[in-house]
Protein backbone atom coordinates (compact mmCIF):
# COMPACT_ATOMS: atom_id res chain seq x y z
CA UNK A 1 0.00 0.00 0.00
CA UNK A 2 1.39 3.46 -0.85
CA UNK A 3 1.97 5.30 2.38
CA UNK A 4 -0.76 7.75 3.13
CA UNK A 5 1.14 10.98 3.21
CA UNK A 6 -1.12 13.45 5.00
CA UNK A 7 0.77 16.42 3.61
CA UNK A 8 0.37 15.34 -0.01
CA UNK A 9 -2.00 17.66 -1.81
CA UNK A 10 -4.46 16.68 -4.48
CA UNK A 11 -2.64 16.77 -7.84
CA UNK A 12 -3.94 18.60 -10.90
CA UNK A 13 -3.24 15.65 -13.12
CA UNK A 14 -2.06 12.06 -13.16
CA UNK A 15 -0.41 10.07 -15.93
CA UNK A 16 -1.74 6.66 -16.92
CA UNK A 17 0.38 4.46 -19.21
CA UNK A 18 -1.98 2.04 -20.89
CA UNK A 19 -1.75 -0.59 -23.62
CA UNK A 20 -2.97 0.98 -26.83
CA UNK A 21 -5.69 -1.69 -27.20
CA UNK A 22 -7.42 -0.17 -24.17
CA UNK A 23 -7.58 3.29 -25.70
CA UNK A 24 -11.29 3.86 -26.29
CA UNK A 25 -12.43 2.32 -23.02
CA UNK A 26 -9.80 4.15 -20.97
CA UNK A 27 -10.48 7.54 -22.50
CA UNK A 28 -14.09 7.13 -21.43
CA UNK A 29 -13.11 6.02 -17.91
CA UNK A 30 -10.65 8.93 -17.77
CA UNK A 31 -13.45 11.38 -18.49
CA UNK A 32 -15.52 9.83 -15.71
CA UNK A 33 -12.56 10.16 -13.35
CA UNK A 34 -12.01 13.77 -14.29
CA UNK A 35 -15.67 14.65 -13.73
CA UNK A 36 -15.62 12.97 -10.32
CA UNK A 37 -12.34 14.25 -8.95
CA UNK A 38 -11.40 17.28 -11.02
CA UNK A 39 -8.05 15.60 -11.68
CA UNK A 40 -7.03 15.53 -15.32
CA UNK A 41 -5.76 12.21 -16.72
CA UNK A 42 -2.87 12.27 -19.18
CA UNK A 43 -2.90 9.05 -21.16
CA UNK A 44 0.26 7.58 -22.62
CA UNK A 45 -0.81 4.87 -25.07
CA UNK A 46 1.78 2.51 -26.58
CA UNK A 47 2.69 -1.18 -26.76
CA UNK A 48 2.98 -2.68 -23.27
CA UNK A 49 6.68 -3.49 -23.77
CA UNK A 50 7.55 0.15 -24.49
CA UNK A 51 5.52 1.33 -21.49
CA UNK A 52 7.43 -1.16 -19.34
CA UNK A 53 10.81 0.18 -20.54
CA UNK A 54 9.74 3.76 -19.79
CA UNK A 55 8.71 2.83 -16.24
CA UNK A 56 12.03 1.01 -15.73
CA UNK A 57 13.73 4.31 -16.50
CA UNK A 58 11.55 6.12 -13.96
CA UNK A 59 9.32 7.96 -16.41
CA UNK A 60 6.77 10.01 -14.45
CA UNK A 61 3.91 7.50 -14.58
CA UNK A 62 1.29 6.96 -11.86
CA UNK A 63 -0.69 3.98 -13.18
CA UNK A 64 0.34 1.17 -15.52
CA UNK A 65 -2.31 -0.89 -17.33
CA UNK A 66 -0.74 -3.71 -19.34
CA UNK A 67 -2.13 -5.97 -22.04
CA UNK A 68 0.04 -8.83 -20.78
CA UNK A 69 0.94 -10.23 -17.36
CA UNK A 70 4.58 -10.61 -18.38
CA UNK A 71 5.35 -6.88 -18.53
CA UNK A 72 3.73 -6.37 -15.13
CA UNK A 73 5.61 -9.37 -13.66
CA UNK A 74 8.93 -7.96 -14.80
CA UNK A 75 8.20 -4.60 -13.17
CA UNK A 76 7.10 -6.40 -10.01
CA UNK A 77 10.35 -8.37 -9.98
CA UNK A 78 12.30 -5.12 -10.19
CA UNK A 79 10.21 -3.72 -7.35
CA UNK A 80 8.87 -0.88 -9.50
CA UNK A 81 5.15 -1.28 -8.79
CA UNK A 82 3.13 -1.50 -5.58
CA UNK A 83 2.28 -5.19 -5.84
CA UNK A 84 -0.57 -4.89 -3.34
CA UNK A 85 -2.33 -2.46 -5.70
CA UNK A 86 -2.10 -4.91 -8.60
CA UNK A 87 -5.43 -6.23 -9.91
CA UNK A 88 -6.61 -7.99 -13.04
CA UNK A 89 -9.24 -5.58 -14.30
CA UNK A 90 -10.44 -7.11 -17.57
CA UNK A 91 -10.34 -10.19 -19.72
CA UNK A 92 -10.38 -10.72 -23.44
CA UNK A 93 -11.35 -13.43 -25.92
CA UNK A 94 -9.02 -14.81 -28.58
CA UNK A 95 -10.85 -15.52 -31.82
CA UNK A 96 -10.07 -17.16 -35.14
CA UNK A 97 -10.89 -14.83 -38.01
CA UNK A 98 -11.15 -15.38 -41.77
CA UNK A 99 -11.43 -13.02 -44.71
CA UNK A 100 -15.13 -12.27 -45.22
CA UNK A 101 -14.94 -13.60 -48.78
CA UNK A 102 -13.99 -17.05 -47.50
CA UNK A 103 -16.72 -17.28 -44.92
CA UNK A 104 -18.83 -20.36 -45.34
CA UNK A 105 -21.53 -21.51 -43.00
CA UNK A 106 -21.58 -25.25 -43.52
CA UNK A 107 -18.05 -25.81 -42.26
CA UNK A 108 -17.81 -25.98 -38.50
CA UNK A 109 -14.47 -27.64 -37.81
CA UNK A 110 -12.56 -24.37 -38.16
CA UNK A 111 -9.51 -25.35 -36.20
CA UNK A 112 -9.02 -28.72 -37.89
CA UNK A 113 -9.33 -26.97 -41.22
CA UNK A 114 -6.25 -24.90 -40.46
CA UNK A 115 -4.09 -27.98 -40.99
CA UNK A 116 -5.63 -28.81 -44.35
CA UNK A 117 -4.41 -27.72 -47.73
CA UNK A 118 -6.88 -24.95 -48.69
CA UNK A 119 -5.41 -22.90 -45.82
CA UNK A 120 -1.99 -21.77 -46.97
CA UNK A 121 -1.14 -18.92 -44.64
CA UNK A 122 -2.13 -18.13 -41.06
CA UNK A 123 -1.23 -14.85 -39.35
CA UNK A 124 -0.54 -14.62 -35.63
CA UNK A 125 1.28 -12.01 -33.55
CA UNK A 126 4.92 -12.83 -32.88
CA UNK A 127 4.60 -15.05 -29.75
CA UNK A 128 7.81 -13.51 -28.36
CA UNK A 129 6.51 -9.95 -28.28
CA UNK A 130 2.77 -9.91 -28.93
CA UNK A 131 0.56 -11.29 -26.13
CA UNK A 132 -2.20 -12.33 -28.57
CA UNK A 133 0.38 -14.32 -30.54
CA UNK A 134 1.56 -16.02 -27.38
CA UNK A 135 -1.98 -17.22 -26.59
CA UNK A 136 -2.53 -18.22 -30.24
CA UNK A 137 0.53 -20.45 -30.09
CA UNK A 138 -0.74 -22.06 -26.88
CA UNK A 139 -4.06 -22.81 -28.55
CA UNK A 140 -2.42 -24.32 -31.64
CA UNK A 141 -0.09 -26.42 -29.50
CA UNK A 142 -2.92 -27.68 -27.30
CA UNK A 143 -5.06 -28.61 -30.30
CA UNK A 144 -2.09 -30.59 -31.64
CA UNK A 145 -2.00 -28.36 -34.68
CA UNK A 146 1.25 -26.49 -34.07
CA UNK A 147 3.53 -28.90 -35.95
CA UNK A 148 1.13 -29.09 -38.86
CA UNK A 149 0.61 -25.35 -39.29
CA UNK A 150 4.05 -24.03 -38.39
CA UNK A 151 5.09 -23.77 -42.04
CA UNK A 152 2.02 -21.66 -42.75
CA UNK A 153 2.54 -19.08 -40.05
CA UNK A 154 3.13 -15.42 -40.80
CA UNK A 155 4.34 -13.58 -37.69
CA UNK A 156 3.09 -10.02 -37.27
CA UNK A 157 4.45 -7.29 -35.03
CA UNK A 158 1.08 -6.36 -33.60
CA UNK A 159 -2.51 -7.51 -33.71
CA UNK A 160 -3.42 -4.69 -36.07
CA UNK A 161 -1.14 -6.23 -38.69
CA UNK A 162 -2.86 -9.61 -38.34
CA UNK A 163 -6.19 -7.90 -38.82
CA UNK A 164 -4.94 -6.12 -41.94
CA UNK A 165 -3.53 -9.30 -43.50
CA UNK A 166 -6.83 -11.09 -42.99
CA UNK A 167 -8.92 -8.12 -44.16
CA UNK A 168 -6.88 -7.95 -47.38
CA UNK A 169 -7.05 -11.77 -47.75
CA UNK A 170 -3.25 -11.91 -47.82
CA UNK A 171 -3.64 -14.80 -45.39
CA UNK A 172 -6.42 -17.37 -45.04
CA UNK A 173 -6.86 -17.08 -41.28
CA UNK A 174 -5.61 -15.21 -38.24
CA UNK A 175 -5.87 -14.92 -34.45
CA UNK A 176 -6.82 -11.62 -32.78
CA UNK A 177 -8.71 -10.44 -29.70
CA UNK A 178 -12.40 -9.92 -30.16
CA UNK A 179 -11.93 -6.29 -28.98
CA UNK A 180 -9.59 -5.60 -31.91
CA UNK A 181 -12.37 -6.01 -34.44
CA UNK A 182 -14.28 -2.79 -34.93
CA UNK A 183 -18.07 -3.28 -35.19
CA UNK A 184 -17.87 -1.57 -38.58
CA UNK A 185 -15.25 -4.01 -39.90
CA UNK A 186 -16.89 -5.71 -42.88
CA UNK A 187 -13.74 -7.33 -44.18
CA UNK A 188 -13.24 -10.06 -41.59
CA UNK A 189 -15.44 -12.83 -40.34
CA UNK A 190 -15.23 -14.21 -36.80
CA UNK A 191 -15.21 -17.99 -37.25
CA UNK A 192 -14.92 -19.17 -33.66
CA UNK A 193 -13.44 -18.28 -30.28
CA UNK A 194 -10.36 -20.24 -29.28
CA UNK A 195 -11.53 -22.74 -26.66
CA UNK A 196 -10.73 -21.27 -23.23
CA UNK A 197 -9.16 -24.51 -22.05
CA UNK A 198 -6.52 -24.31 -24.78
CA UNK A 199 -4.74 -21.19 -23.51
CA UNK A 200 -4.00 -19.29 -20.28
CA UNK A 201 -6.65 -16.80 -19.18
CA UNK A 202 -6.24 -13.54 -21.06
CA UNK A 203 -6.12 -10.95 -18.31
CA UNK A 204 -5.15 -7.27 -18.17
CA UNK A 205 -3.30 -6.24 -14.99
CA UNK A 206 -3.19 -2.72 -13.55
CA UNK A 207 -1.09 -1.29 -10.68
CA UNK A 208 0.23 1.90 -9.09
CA UNK A 209 3.81 2.66 -10.10
CA UNK A 210 6.34 3.02 -7.24
CA UNK A 211 7.72 6.27 -8.63
CA UNK A 212 4.27 7.85 -8.57
CA UNK A 213 4.08 11.06 -6.59
CA UNK A 214 0.29 10.88 -6.58
CA UNK A 215 -0.28 7.36 -5.30
CA UNK A 216 -3.62 8.24 -3.67
CA UNK A 217 -5.04 9.69 -6.88
CA UNK A 218 -3.59 6.74 -8.82
CA UNK A 219 -5.34 4.33 -6.49
CA UNK A 220 -8.56 6.25 -7.04
CA UNK A 221 -8.22 5.71 -10.78
CA UNK A 222 -7.74 1.97 -10.33
CA UNK A 223 -10.75 1.87 -8.00
CA UNK A 224 -12.85 3.50 -10.73
CA UNK A 225 -11.64 0.99 -13.35
CA UNK A 226 -12.68 -1.84 -11.01
CA UNK A 227 -15.98 -0.23 -10.03
CA UNK A 228 -19.26 -1.33 -11.66
CA UNK A 229 -19.18 1.82 -13.80
CA UNK A 230 -15.62 1.27 -15.02
CA UNK A 231 -16.37 -2.37 -15.72
CA UNK A 232 -19.50 -1.43 -17.65
CA UNK A 233 -17.39 0.80 -19.92
CA UNK A 234 -14.88 -2.00 -20.55
CA UNK A 235 -17.71 -4.41 -21.27
CA UNK A 236 -19.18 -1.98 -23.77
CA UNK A 237 -15.92 -2.20 -25.75
CA UNK A 238 -15.95 -6.01 -25.74
CA UNK A 239 -13.73 -6.77 -22.76
CA UNK A 240 -14.76 -9.39 -20.22
CA UNK A 241 -15.65 -7.84 -16.90
CA UNK A 242 -13.86 -9.27 -13.89
CA UNK A 243 -16.84 -8.30 -11.74
CA UNK A 244 -19.73 -9.92 -13.51
CA UNK A 245 -17.83 -12.95 -14.73
CA UNK A 246 -18.17 -13.76 -18.39
CA UNK A 247 -19.46 -10.95 -20.38
Amino acid sequence: MPTNNGAAKVPNEITVSAAVSLKDAFIEIGQLYETRTGIHVNFNFAASGILQKQIEQAAPVDVFASAGERQMDELANKNLIFTDTRRDFAGNTLVLILPRSQATTQELQWFERLAQSPVRKIAIGNPQTVPAGFYARQTLVNLNLWDKVQQKLVLAEDVRQVLDYVARAEVDAGFVYVTDIAPTNQAVFVAAPAPETTHDSILYPIAVVKDSRHAEAALGFIALVLSPEGQAVLKKYGFISVLFGEG
Binding site: T15, S21, K23, I50, Q54, Q57, P60, N185
Partner: protein, 222 residues
Amino acid sequence: MIWSAFKVSLLVVSVATIITSVLGLALAFVLARREFRGRELLDAVLTMPLVLPPTVTGYYLIVLLGRRGLLGAPLYAWTGWTITFTWQAAALAATVVALPLMIKAARAAIESVEPKYELASFTLGKGELETFLRVTLPLARRGVVAGIVLSAARALGEFGATLMLAGNIPGKTQTMPLAIYEAVISGEDRRAQTLAVALTLVSVAAVYLTNKLSRAKSAQAA
Protein backbone atom coordinates in the same frame (compact mmCIF):
# COMPACT_ATOMS: atom_id res chain seq x y z
CA MET B 1 -6.83 16.11 -31.89
CA ILE B 2 -5.35 16.52 -35.36
CA TRP B 3 -4.88 20.20 -34.63
CA SER B 4 -3.19 19.59 -31.28
CA ALA B 5 -0.80 17.04 -32.84
CA PHE B 6 -0.02 19.59 -35.54
CA LYS B 7 0.77 22.25 -32.94
CA VAL B 8 3.04 19.92 -30.97
CA SER B 9 4.83 18.93 -34.20
CA LEU B 10 5.27 22.56 -35.21
CA LEU B 11 6.84 23.47 -31.86
CA VAL B 12 9.05 20.37 -31.79
CA VAL B 13 10.27 20.77 -35.38
CA SER B 14 10.97 24.49 -34.94
CA VAL B 15 13.06 24.00 -31.82
CA ALA B 16 14.81 20.91 -33.19
CA THR B 17 15.64 22.62 -36.48
CA ILE B 18 17.12 25.69 -34.80
CA ILE B 19 19.30 23.60 -32.50
CA THR B 20 20.25 21.20 -35.28
CA SER B 21 21.23 24.03 -37.61
CA VAL B 22 23.44 25.91 -35.16
CA LEU B 23 24.96 22.90 -33.42
CA GLY B 24 25.27 20.91 -36.65
CA LEU B 25 27.02 23.78 -38.41
CA ALA B 26 29.50 24.22 -35.55
CA LEU B 27 30.25 20.49 -35.45
CA ALA B 28 30.52 20.30 -39.23
CA PHE B 29 33.03 23.14 -39.20
CA VAL B 30 35.13 21.49 -36.50
CA LEU B 31 35.06 18.17 -38.36
CA ALA B 32 35.90 19.78 -41.71
CA ARG B 33 38.56 22.26 -40.68
CA ARG B 34 40.23 20.98 -37.53
CA GLU B 35 42.77 18.19 -37.26
CA PHE B 36 42.54 16.36 -33.96
CA ARG B 37 42.77 12.86 -32.58
CA GLY B 38 39.49 11.02 -32.67
CA ARG B 39 37.99 13.26 -35.33
CA GLU B 40 36.56 10.43 -37.39
CA LEU B 41 35.49 8.66 -34.22
CA LEU B 42 33.49 11.75 -33.22
CA ASP B 43 31.92 11.81 -36.66
CA ALA B 44 31.06 8.11 -36.38
CA VAL B 45 29.45 8.56 -32.95
CA LEU B 46 27.41 11.53 -34.16
CA THR B 47 26.28 9.49 -37.17
CA MET B 48 25.01 6.59 -35.06
CA PRO B 49 21.39 7.84 -34.81
CA LEU B 50 21.26 7.64 -38.61
CA VAL B 51 22.14 3.95 -38.50
CA LEU B 52 20.46 2.72 -35.31
CA PRO B 53 16.76 1.92 -35.25
CA PRO B 54 15.18 5.04 -33.69
CA THR B 55 13.69 2.96 -30.86
CA VAL B 56 17.24 2.01 -29.85
CA THR B 57 18.34 5.66 -29.99
CA GLY B 58 15.33 6.47 -27.83
CA TYR B 59 16.29 3.72 -25.41
CA TYR B 60 19.83 5.15 -25.09
CA LEU B 61 18.36 8.59 -24.49
CA ILE B 62 15.99 7.43 -21.76
CA VAL B 63 18.73 5.38 -20.09
CA LEU B 64 20.93 8.48 -20.13
CA LEU B 65 18.33 11.11 -19.27
CA GLY B 66 15.55 9.31 -17.35
CA ARG B 67 15.03 10.00 -13.65
CA ARG B 68 17.41 7.14 -12.88
CA GLY B 69 19.70 7.97 -15.80
CA LEU B 70 23.38 8.85 -15.79
CA LEU B 71 22.63 12.53 -16.44
CA GLY B 72 18.94 12.45 -15.59
CA ALA B 73 19.38 11.41 -11.95
CA PRO B 74 21.59 14.38 -10.92
CA LEU B 75 19.35 16.73 -12.89
CA TYR B 76 16.30 15.41 -11.07
CA ALA B 77 18.01 15.61 -7.68
CA TRP B 78 18.99 19.18 -8.37
CA THR B 79 15.88 20.61 -10.04
CA GLY B 80 13.10 18.10 -9.36
CA TRP B 81 12.46 18.10 -13.11
CA THR B 82 12.75 15.25 -15.56
CA ILE B 83 12.72 15.56 -19.33
CA THR B 84 10.80 12.29 -19.83
CA PHE B 85 7.24 12.86 -21.12
CA THR B 86 7.75 16.57 -21.91
CA TRP B 87 7.68 18.35 -25.26
CA GLN B 88 11.34 19.14 -24.70
CA ALA B 89 11.98 15.39 -24.82
CA ALA B 90 10.29 15.22 -28.22
CA ALA B 91 12.42 18.14 -29.43
CA LEU B 92 15.57 16.49 -28.11
CA ALA B 93 14.75 13.13 -29.72
CA ALA B 94 14.09 14.90 -33.03
CA THR B 95 17.35 16.86 -32.70
CA VAL B 96 19.51 13.82 -32.00
CA VAL B 97 18.03 11.88 -34.89
CA ALA B 98 18.19 14.81 -37.34
CA LEU B 99 21.66 16.08 -36.40
CA PRO B 100 23.70 13.58 -38.50
CA LEU B 101 21.94 14.72 -41.69
CA MET B 102 22.90 18.34 -40.97
CA ILE B 103 26.47 17.42 -40.09
CA LYS B 104 26.98 15.22 -43.17
CA ALA B 105 25.64 17.80 -45.62
CA ALA B 106 27.35 20.81 -44.00
CA ARG B 107 30.69 19.07 -43.55
CA ALA B 108 30.82 18.09 -47.21
CA ALA B 109 29.83 21.62 -48.22
CA ILE B 110 32.48 23.26 -46.02
CA GLU B 111 35.16 20.84 -47.20
CA SER B 112 34.38 21.72 -50.79
CA VAL B 113 35.26 25.38 -50.15
CA GLU B 114 38.80 26.09 -51.36
CA PRO B 115 40.95 26.94 -48.32
CA LYS B 116 42.68 29.68 -50.34
CA TYR B 117 39.64 31.96 -49.97
CA GLU B 118 39.78 31.58 -46.21
CA LEU B 119 43.54 32.16 -46.27
CA ALA B 120 43.01 35.33 -48.27
CA SER B 121 40.59 36.54 -45.63
CA PHE B 122 43.06 35.79 -42.86
CA THR B 123 45.79 37.69 -44.75
CA LEU B 124 43.47 40.67 -44.84
CA GLY B 125 43.39 40.54 -41.06
CA LYS B 126 39.96 39.06 -40.60
CA GLY B 127 39.38 36.76 -37.63
CA GLU B 128 38.26 33.17 -37.78
CA LEU B 129 34.60 33.78 -36.94
CA GLU B 130 34.28 36.62 -39.41
CA THR B 131 35.97 34.56 -42.09
CA PHE B 132 33.61 31.68 -41.44
CA LEU B 133 30.51 33.85 -41.54
CA ARG B 134 31.50 36.01 -44.50
CA VAL B 135 33.57 33.69 -46.67
CA THR B 136 33.11 30.00 -45.87
CA LEU B 137 29.39 30.01 -45.07
CA PRO B 138 28.26 31.93 -48.17
CA LEU B 139 30.34 29.61 -50.38
CA ALA B 140 29.00 26.50 -48.64
CA ARG B 141 25.47 27.82 -48.48
CA ARG B 142 23.71 25.38 -50.76
CA GLY B 143 24.98 22.34 -48.92
CA VAL B 144 24.15 23.94 -45.60
CA VAL B 145 20.59 24.77 -46.68
CA ALA B 146 20.17 21.23 -47.96
CA GLY B 147 21.29 19.98 -44.55
CA ILE B 148 18.76 22.18 -42.78
CA VAL B 149 15.93 21.02 -45.03
CA LEU B 150 16.83 17.36 -44.65
CA SER B 151 17.14 17.57 -40.88
CA ALA B 152 13.88 19.50 -40.52
CA ALA B 153 12.13 16.86 -42.63
CA ARG B 154 13.66 14.10 -40.53
CA ALA B 155 12.60 15.89 -37.33
CA LEU B 156 9.04 16.16 -38.62
CA GLY B 157 8.86 12.43 -39.35
CA GLU B 158 10.62 11.27 -36.17
CA PHE B 159 8.70 8.52 -34.38
CA GLY B 160 10.63 5.78 -32.57
CA ALA B 161 12.95 7.78 -30.33
CA THR B 162 10.15 10.24 -29.56
CA LEU B 163 7.74 7.50 -28.49
CA MET B 164 10.33 6.13 -26.08
CA LEU B 165 11.56 9.37 -24.49
CA ALA B 166 8.57 11.69 -24.80
CA GLY B 167 5.73 9.20 -24.58
CA ASN B 168 2.51 9.51 -26.56
CA ILE B 169 0.46 12.02 -24.56
CA PRO B 170 -2.17 13.84 -26.64
CA GLY B 171 -1.84 17.62 -26.43
CA LYS B 172 1.53 17.38 -24.69
CA THR B 173 3.96 15.14 -26.56
CA GLN B 174 1.83 13.57 -29.27
CA THR B 175 3.35 14.71 -32.56
CA MET B 176 1.75 13.98 -35.93
CA PRO B 177 3.64 10.70 -36.51
CA LEU B 178 2.60 9.51 -33.02
CA ALA B 179 -1.02 10.46 -33.71
CA ILE B 180 -0.87 8.43 -36.94
CA TYR B 181 0.57 5.43 -35.08
CA GLU B 182 -2.18 5.63 -32.46
CA ALA B 183 -4.92 5.99 -35.06
CA VAL B 184 -3.63 3.05 -37.12
CA ILE B 185 -3.18 0.73 -34.19
CA SER B 186 -6.59 1.49 -32.73
CA GLY B 187 -8.26 0.92 -36.09
CA GLU B 188 -9.31 4.51 -36.79
CA ASP B 189 -8.44 4.28 -40.44
CA ARG B 190 -10.19 7.50 -41.44
CA ARG B 191 -8.25 9.58 -38.96
CA ALA B 192 -5.01 7.81 -39.81
CA GLN B 193 -5.54 8.63 -43.48
CA THR B 194 -6.39 12.26 -42.81
CA LEU B 195 -3.31 12.67 -40.63
CA ALA B 196 -1.06 10.85 -43.09
CA VAL B 197 -2.23 13.03 -45.97
CA ALA B 198 -1.78 16.18 -43.84
CA LEU B 199 1.74 15.15 -42.83
CA THR B 200 2.64 14.33 -46.43
CA LEU B 201 1.33 17.68 -47.69
CA VAL B 202 3.18 19.63 -45.00
CA SER B 203 6.44 17.78 -45.73
CA VAL B 204 6.24 18.14 -49.50
CA ALA B 205 5.33 21.82 -49.18
CA ALA B 206 8.17 22.52 -46.76
CA VAL B 207 10.83 20.76 -48.80
CA TYR B 208 9.56 22.24 -52.07
CA LEU B 209 9.47 25.80 -50.73
CA THR B 210 12.90 25.58 -49.19
CA ASN B 211 14.37 24.18 -52.38
CA LYS B 212 12.82 26.99 -54.36
CA LEU B 213 13.97 29.60 -51.92
CA SER B 214 17.54 28.36 -51.86
CA ARG B 215 17.64 28.14 -55.69
CA ALA B 216 16.37 31.69 -56.00
CA LYS B 217 18.97 32.93 -53.55
CA SER B 218 21.75 31.00 -55.23
CA ALA B 219 20.74 32.43 -58.58
CA GLN B 220 20.80 35.90 -57.05
CA ALA B 221 24.25 35.33 -55.61
CA ALA B 222 25.67 33.91 -58.84
